[in-house]
Symmetry: C2
Subunit: 197 residues, 2 copies
Amino acid sequence: MSEKSDIDALIDLMARLPGLGPRSARRAVLHLIRKRGPLLTPLAELMGRVAETARECLNCGNVGTSDICAICNDEARATGVLCVVEDVADLWAMERSGTFRGRYHVLGGTLSALDAIGPDELRIPRLVDRVTAEGVEEVILALNATVDGQTTAHYIADLLRDRVALSSLAQGVPIGGELDYLDDGTITAALTARKRL
Amino acid sequence: MSEKSDIDALIDLMARLPGLGPRSARRAVLHLIRKRGPLLTPLAELMGRVAETARECLNCGNVGTSDICAICNDEARATGVLCVVEDVADLWAMERSGTFRGRYHVLGGTLSALDAIGPDELRIPRLVDRVTAEGVEEVILALNATVDGQTTAHYIADLLRDRVALSSLAQGVPIGGELDYLDDGTITAALTARKRL
Ligand SMILES: [Zn+2]
Ligand SMILES: [Zn+2]
């Protein structure tokens, strides 16, 4: 069925998205074809536009459509407090909670001996630079409550201990839990009750 | 964050796909942005192309990129046997089993008193036309083993009983099961052991 190849190729690509397998990719593609006007066409256009414009913020690692992201560019946000997160999904989760009005630093992962990920594979050197350059007074380590997340938090705390106040999300983050799974209220509680290290 | 609006809009559209909620849509979009070259750009292009070219086969209701689909156009496939399925996902499931070498007729749903779906809302009139026009000798009713599926099968059987041999998938289709969830072997077994009505 050579004439079906675009549809088959679309199913194959969709099946590579996290959360979709071959079967749900087929369902999704049939749904897209049925909803061509309201869904498939705008989705194709948006994806094309995002493919052209999306980039990582050179300052913090957030995802946006300019070299410096909207949060880094927002003069209303406090420059003295940096919230360090593992990835952009965690930054989005923090933003949904609406509590934090400082700026972020996205590490791009955690230290991992197993995967040979050291500080230079993450945005840790850049974090140290920012602490100096932006006159940061407090760094909130909002890393996941996993072994690698906490190892990374300790590593960064050791690096910065003499230069800034350090805190970590405390109350409400369950053992082994990941930020992006928490409800906004839990994140707000954890942030409000953050403890000094 | 107005500059993020394309990304936000993309997340909103992705969340409307079956099988994806807001959270998995966010994960998927971050994954797409990270895999821009190998995934996001080709996906945007394919979606655009499929949005322009995909259409329902005027003959059988299958999805393809021409007015008459590849299966209907395939002269190697038997014209004397029609396999009636509820939707295109079921047709694809039949094709994956690789057993059936006749042609299909996609109803586009099932009769449903509750949803006010009668024969004219489905491709049932067109099925009756095809039986005559294509000299069909056997109709296999491969409908789901649900109440609505079996109601529809009986309705079609009553319509066609005097004109063609009728059979239904028998062995292996579990009670309440849907074709698209079955493994290929089960579909093959059910097709091979189909029983005359
Ligand atoms: Zn930024
Ligand atoms: Zn066809």
